[in-house]
Every structure is written in structure tokens, then in C-alpha cells.
Amino acid sequence: MKLVFDISKPGRSSQILPECDVPEVMPDAAFLRQSAPALPEIPEVEVDRHYNELAQEVFGVCDGFYPLGSCTMKYSPKVNETIAALPGFAKIHPLQPAESAQGALQVMSELSSALAEITGMDAVSLQPAAGAHGEYTGLLLIREYHLSRGDTARTKIIVPDSAHGTNPASSVMAGFEVVNVVSNAEGGVDLDGLREAVGPDTAGLMLTNPNTLGLFDPNITEICKIIHEAGGLCYYDGANLNPIMGVMRPGDMGFDCVHVNLHKTFSTPHGGGGPGAGPVGCKELLAKFLPTPVVIDSEGRFELSRPESSLGRMKAFYGNFSVMVKALAYIKVLGAEGIAETAKASALNANYMMRKLDDLYFMPYGQAPCMHEFVMDIAPLEHETGCSAMDVAKRLLDFGMHAPTMYFPLIVHEALMVEPTETESRENLDRAIEVLRQIWQECHDDPEFVKASPHDAAIGRPDEVTAARHPVVRWIPEA
């Protein structure tokens, strides 16, 4: 495909803006740029076609099965896009007076309440712009809590080895040291290891439950108790909330603080990698530290307010508002019952796939039911045929399906993490099962063919080593 710059010719841009109807004023020459930017000059028709051509080489949820584990690539309802684009939501200034933005503040208030109810928390901040941003915010709440008590010795966050990479990275950003705990044979937190890890320096624990193996930790109450008895707080990474919402609440499991991903659990589209939103919920003991501002309902009038001991601001304004609008519309459609039904269907779809594949593929933690996702270990298949997790994943692309998450979690070396989501029908699951079984057979019959896949994609496997060694990260105009 041509670069947008390659279809540019001088003078071809469309005229979009009118002539100036007031006296023209330019800043003094000293303030002006020396040369014009080499931005493309393209007529509208070619702009349209260029991006349509790019779009053909994109795989979206609209194209087919997208079992990208831990990303919850569920269907994004169209009505939510329509609602977010209403002028009353899209064309309002973030700093317009509260009296003129009561609808927007109502959206934030209603969404905060609904998320608090779903997660079992007392207060919510909608400001974080993504899951990792939410983690960072939640950890800062924990930091503020300990500091406010004069407890400066609590410098460590405990993170299981099955955690997302963002957990340790967020902990360091929040000023903590990371203590890794290994998982037990069942894939859960090893209680003895946890008891050894806690102490007067424990600030808290970050846990994803169900974890990245797709397993709900049966010892969850005990885990939270161990942390609390040591004086720490428990942070719930809501990346995997989808199979739990309406079934069980993190707050009832013993967690003090959570983030949820509106772009995963609450159906807002992923946009090729954002914008998402990562609201944070917390118990009362942390509420006064929440980022500023939060929305309060003052006798039917909504206002923005700064929490008493706010940790400050995580970004400009209030968060990704349009994303909030979409998530609220989704929650309103599902209602209490629909939320639980959705969660259960996501677990059902994952278990259905796992059970229909476990005679061929090795499921290292397959003895227990999974939640919304399961992890296949391709190591035995690789031992037999030489085909790796990467090879199986790439071959799937040839069948019009997205690959599962590869090589994660790290504790399963040839991992493929499969999350079908609840918005796939039984026929789609049966088709995916059939394809994975066929690929297993191909690995045995013609491993070289599988290793050379994908065969039908726009490009073959790219050379990532050269890309990193000699980075070319922008187009440069010819001199």
C-alpha cells in the first residue's frame, strides 16, 4: 500500500475553510516557523480511498472471531455510538458552567453509581483513561492511605507471577517495590508463599481474579485476609471482570480498590488500541483520596467537587467522557439480570471451547472449570511436531480468525490464551473448534506448512529484529 505521502501532489488539498472576514493579523516574524510542514496534499476523494484501503488491512470484531485473551473483544453495540455522537454529548465544552452540563454530570453520576454497585465499592473516579492508568490511580490511593496514617514503611506491592505486565510497571510508577509471588500447582496464589511475603513493609496486593489463566482463585477470601492482617490493602485488577459481574463482587471478596476496563467488560470499542477508560472504585476508607474532580449529587443538582484529601489529577478534565456515555448505555440495556446473564454466557462459551479441544490440546489447568478464558499449552504439540504457539496462532489467521493472545501468561511458556466472549454463537464456537482441530492435524501432517503461515495475509511474518535494531519510525521527505 502506498504511504499517504506518496499520493500527495502540491496544490491538491481541498479548500475547506472560508476566507478571512476580519482584518488579517499575524504574529511578529520572530514567532513564525521557517518552513512549512511536509504534510500530504490530497483531494478529498483520495483521502477517502487511502484510508479505505488501509481499513481493508485491518481485522476488527466486525470481521470475525477475535479470541484475544484478556482483551474481551466483545461486540460493541451500534446504538452506543449513536448516543455518544449526539450533539448534547459531543459538542459540549468541558469547562462550560455546571448548570449547562447537568446531563453530562448525570451520566458521570449514574455510571459511577452503577460501577460502584457492580464492583461492591463505595466511591468511583471516572478519570483514568485506560486500564493501566486505573491501576496507577488505585495504587496511588493505597500510597496516600498509608502515608496519611504516617505509615511510611509500607513500600512493597505483592504481585503474582501470572499478573499482567502493567501490574509491576504501575507499582513502580506509584513508587513501590514489587514482590513477586509464585503460583501454586492449581494456578492460584500460593498461600504459604503469600504468608512468607507479607510483613510490615507490605503496602498491598494486586490481583486479577479470575487470573490470567482464566481461573477464579478459590482461596480469595483467605488471600485478602492475609493481606489485611499484615496491614496491607487489596487491589483488584478488573481486566477479567467480565465473567464475574453480577455473579460476585470484588468488594465482597475483600478487595479495597478496583479498576474496571470500560473497553473490555462494558463493550466500548477498542479503536485499534484506544481510547479506552479505566475507572477506579474504592471502599470508603480510600474515597477522600480520589483524583479531582468527582461528581456529587447535591439535592438533584450535579456538581464537580474536589475530594477532601485528593491525590490530585491523573489527566486533564474528567476522563474519556464519550467512552463513559457508551458504557452507561450498555449497562442500561443489560440491567441487573442482563449483566449476570452476560457474565455467565462468557464463562460458558470459554468452557465449551476448552472441553471440545482438551482431547487434542494440553490444558495445563484444565482440571477446573475456567471462567471467561482458558490457556492452552502448545509445548507438548511443539515437542511432537515442531510447531509452536506462534505457528498455531499465525495459521488461525488464514481461516479469517484473529489469533489468541500468545506467550502470556509468562508462567506457561507456549501459551495461547483464548477468550471467546459471550457475543459468539454456538455455531461460531463450533467453527473455531473445528479449525483448531484441523490445525492440530496439520501440525502433525505438514508442520512446515503451518510454520510458514499465514499464507493468505497481506504480508508474511515481519522482521521484528531489524525493525528494533535500525528503527525507522517516520517517513522523511526527499530533500
Partner: protein, 436 residues
Amino acid sequence: MANYLPSTAAERQEMLEAIGCSSYDDLYRDVPGGANSVTLDLPAGMTEMEVLGEMSHIAAKNTVFHMVFRGAGSYNHYIPQVVKSVTSNEKFVTAYTPYQAEISQGVLQSIFEYQSMVCELTGMDASNASVYDGATAAAEAVFMCEERKRSGVVISETVNPDTIETVKTYCASRSVEVTVVPAKGGVTDAEAFSAALGNGASCAIIQQPNYFGILEDVKPLIDAAHAVKAKAIMSVNPISLGILATPGELGADICVAEGQPLGMPMAFGGPYLGIMTCTSACMRKLSGRIVGQTTDHDGNNAFVLTLQAREQHIRREKASSNICSNEALCALTASVYMAAMGPQGIEQAAKLSCSKAHYLAEQLCAIDGFELAYDQPFFNEVLIKCPCDPKVLEAKLAEKGILAGLPIGDSMLWCATEINTKGSIDYLVEAVKEAM
């Protein structure tokens, strides 16, 4: 009640039985309390028609001002229709981070093009795939500059206050000292700025045009930072770069910007776009995703996520940032905006915004009691003293469908863009006269 499940209740029951379960409790056996541990206190569900009706009713409670003279971090620029059309393409909307390069060349190439365009606009060598917004971009930029021997950031008080507060939050947890240099006459106090830099700071942040719309004499501030081996981070309004000197030309090491003016609606504050570009020397310290060009095994041109050794999924606690997603759809929006407008279009938007703001200032200041708070050159925002309570004037203008300048003390921060016609400015001025 509605939901988005494609399977019927009967089908789901059959599937449960097909895997040897009699009920959901068998799947949720590890959950204390089983599959029904909680009953949510939320209303019953709705149909699509009902939710559209209810949300439209809520949207109608917001006032959509037909004349907007307010900026302060969110700008009402014209958005070409082709931008909306391209960015609502379902493929772009519903894809995720391009982990599978073979079937994601479209997203990857669009990000590569975005990186190239913002490098051109800002005059820098390298860009990431974007971060959350301008404020977080500034905070991330500070951590690119931190070294073992040099630490701390000096930030001018004339930077947007939301940016200053975000930088403070990010810095507090890592014990990075933040020194806010007071403004003097609406611009950075250059002497105080240099003095603050003398304490071993790793970097300084300045904004052009500054929060009050004023064009600062930026070059000496950047030179002052470099004189003590600190990095210079320059925060800009991307539209202004249609005419204003680029961070690259002025010698900045890192440029950050709120990208919202490049085609994104105001949308009550988000989602917006955090632009981050830098010199080649800083490239490997950039946070977030970066797309690079390479080839596949047949020698075809290909794009991939690159320099991933900086990132959390590889480095975990040693990563340079926890950033995972970028704002890809907003970056695409900015790209399509720049492609549709072209260099002349962006230059024109900048000239129109600047000219209209000057006309607005001249007309307002012709009214008794209104005068410029600072006699300084400005771009498209200007702080004007108000002879009455600015909140009262704001309310009176709101009744006429006008979103006035932002009240700041006894003044208001007014803004104009290409959208504000001469007619609307004249209407505003008449409305102000009537209100006095």
C-alpha cells in the same frame, strides 16, 4: 430486558449439558456462593429504542452553545466531514492493538503515518503512537528526562493548570521534585526560571502559546535549560504550528501537545490525544507504543510495533512506563484531519484563529472598562479584564446562547477559532454591551 447474546437461553442450556454441567453453579464452583452470589441493585434492562430515548433525554439537559468563545485546553475547531466518515469505519473502530502484524497492516501503517505527520508538524525526529492526552504526555515526558544524576522538573506557571497538576501527581509518587516558576506579567519569569534550573533539574516544561494565549519568548528559556544540561519540554497547540515556530526549530528536546484541536470534538473533555515527539537522541526513552517500518521474509514492506524492550509486557517492573494502549482512534482522527486539511489548511486555520481572536479583543476592549490583562502578543486566546463580575457576565451571555470566555479572577480568558465568524463576534460584542 435485552442483551447482546447471540445464543438463546435454550441453546445455552444445551451447551452446558454438552460439557457435562447441569447448571452454572458447576462452572462457578470455585466462587464462594456459586453462580448467584449477588443480586445487583440496578434497574431492569431496556431495549435499544428505550435506551436511545432515555440517553437522548439526558443529552438534551446539556446546553449546546452555538457560539463558543472558550478554549483553555479544549478547542472548537471545524472538523472536515471526511474525518468523521473515515474514523467511523467499523474496522478501525472495533480492532485492537495491532499485535498480529500480518492482519493489522492498516492500523500499523496509519500509526506510522500519524507519527510522520506529527513529526513534520512539530519539527521533531521521532514520535510514539500517542498517549492519553496533553497533560499525561507532559508527565510522561518528565520521566524520559530523569537520570541518576539529574532529577526534578521546573515548570512555568503559565503552563495549563491541569497539566501542572497532572505532572505533580505523577512526580509525587516517585519523589521527583516539581518547581513551579511564577509568572511575571503573564509570561514566564525568565530570571526565576534560570535560577530554578540551577538545582540539578533534569528538565523544564514551557508552553507556547501559554495558558493565557500569550506568545512567550521561548528560545532563551530553552537555552537556559540546555545551559545547565537539562532537557527542554515544549507544550504546544498543534493548530498554532500552522504558523508558529516549531519546537524543533526552537531546539526543544521533547514536544508534547493536546491533540484535540486536530479533528476531535470537545466531548466534555475526552477522549483526546496526547502527542509526544522528540529528537533522535531521546527516541529510545519514549514511552508507549511505537510503530516501525521493516520487511517480511519475502522482502515486502511491512510495519510492526517496535522498540518493545522499553515496554511493560516485556520489562514488567523495569519498564519505562506502564502504558499499554495508546489513543489509536484519536491518532487516526488527527492523521485524517491533517491529510484532509493539508499544510495550507492548517496554516489557514491558524491564521483565521489568530486574526479572529485579535478582532474579538479589539472589539471587546473598545467597550468601557474592558482591557487586556497583559499587553503581550497572543495567538488565539487572550485574557481580558472585565469591569463587572465575570460570572455574572458569563451567565447573562449564556442566556443568549453564547459560551463566554473562562472567568479567571477579575478577567476572562477569551478564545476564537476559524468557526467564529465576524458576525458572531459582533453579536457577542453587542450582547456584552447590553449586559453591562
